[in-house]
Subunit: 124 residues, 2 copies
C-alpha cells in the first residue's frame, strides 16, 4: 500500500543503490557486471536490484538471454518534481546570505570612505 513517491525515495536512501543507478546511467548492463565493483555477494546485489525494480527505477529486458538491467527515469522525474516545490526555500536562504554579504560589503566600503575623507556625492 506504499505510494510511488515513498517507494522512490526509499529506494534512493542507500548509497549502493544510488551507485547502481549511476552505473546504469552509462548504459544497460548485466547483473554480473553490475555487481563487480561492489564488495558484496550476488544475493545482496540482487536484493538491491529488487528494491530498485519494485520502485520502477530499473527494468530488466525480457528479450535477451542475459536480461540486461536498464535505468527508467520516470520515478526520478516525479521525485524531482516533488522536491522542486521547495526550490524557493533554498533560493530564499541563498538570497538572504547574498543580501547579508552585500550589507557587510556596503558597511565596509562606507567606513573606508569616511576614513579617507568624504567623496563628492555628485560623482557618478
Amino acid at each position: 500500500m506504499q505510494d510511488q513517491l515513498s517507494y522512490t525515495f526509499s529506494a534512493l536512501a542507500d548509497p549502493t543503490r544510488r551507485a547502481i543507478l549511476a552505473r546504469l546511467a552509462l548504459g544497460e548492463t548485466s547483473v554480473t557486471e553490475l555487481a563487480e565493483p561492489f564488495e558484496m555477494s550476488m544475493p545482496a546485489v540482487s536484493k538491491h536490484l529488487k528494491v530498485l525494480e519494485r520502485a520502477g527505477l530499473i527494468s530488466r529486458a525480457r528479450e535477451a538471454q542475459w536480461r540486461p538491467c536498464r535505468l527508467d527515469a520516470g520515478p526520478l522525474k516525479e521525485a524531482a518534481g516533488w522536491i522542486e516545490e521547495y526550490r524557493r526555500f533554498w533560493e530564499q536562504t541563498l538570497d538572504r546570505l547574498d543580501k547579508y554579504l552585500r550589507e557587510i560589503e556596503t558597511a565596509r566600503t562606507k567606513s573606508k570612505t569616511n576614513g579617507s575623507g568624504k567623496k563628492s556625492s555628485k560623482t557618478k
Copy 2:
C-alpha cells in the same frame, strides 16, 4: 554512519513526513498545531519530527518557549542536485515519445495525401 543523502531520501520516504514538510512550507508552527491534521498520537508525530530533524530538514527554535518547527531546505537542495543528474534520461524518454508521435502523424498525413491524389512535389 549513514550519509546525508541517504538520511534525506529516507526521511522523504513517508507521506506523513512529506505532509509535515508541506505544512512547514507555509510557515513555522508549533508541534501541537503540526500534529492536528494527522490522526496520529503525539508520540507518533514526534517520531516523524525526529527523523526529519536528524536529516536536517527541519529545526526547532531554541529562543521561543513554544519552540516552533521550521523547514530547512538545504538537504532538499542537495537531493534535487543528485536527481538532476538524471534529467537527460527522462528528457530522452519524452524526446523519444515526441519523435514517435511525430512519425505517426507524418505517416497519417502521407496516407491521407496519397488517398486524395498526389499533390505536386513542386508546391512549397
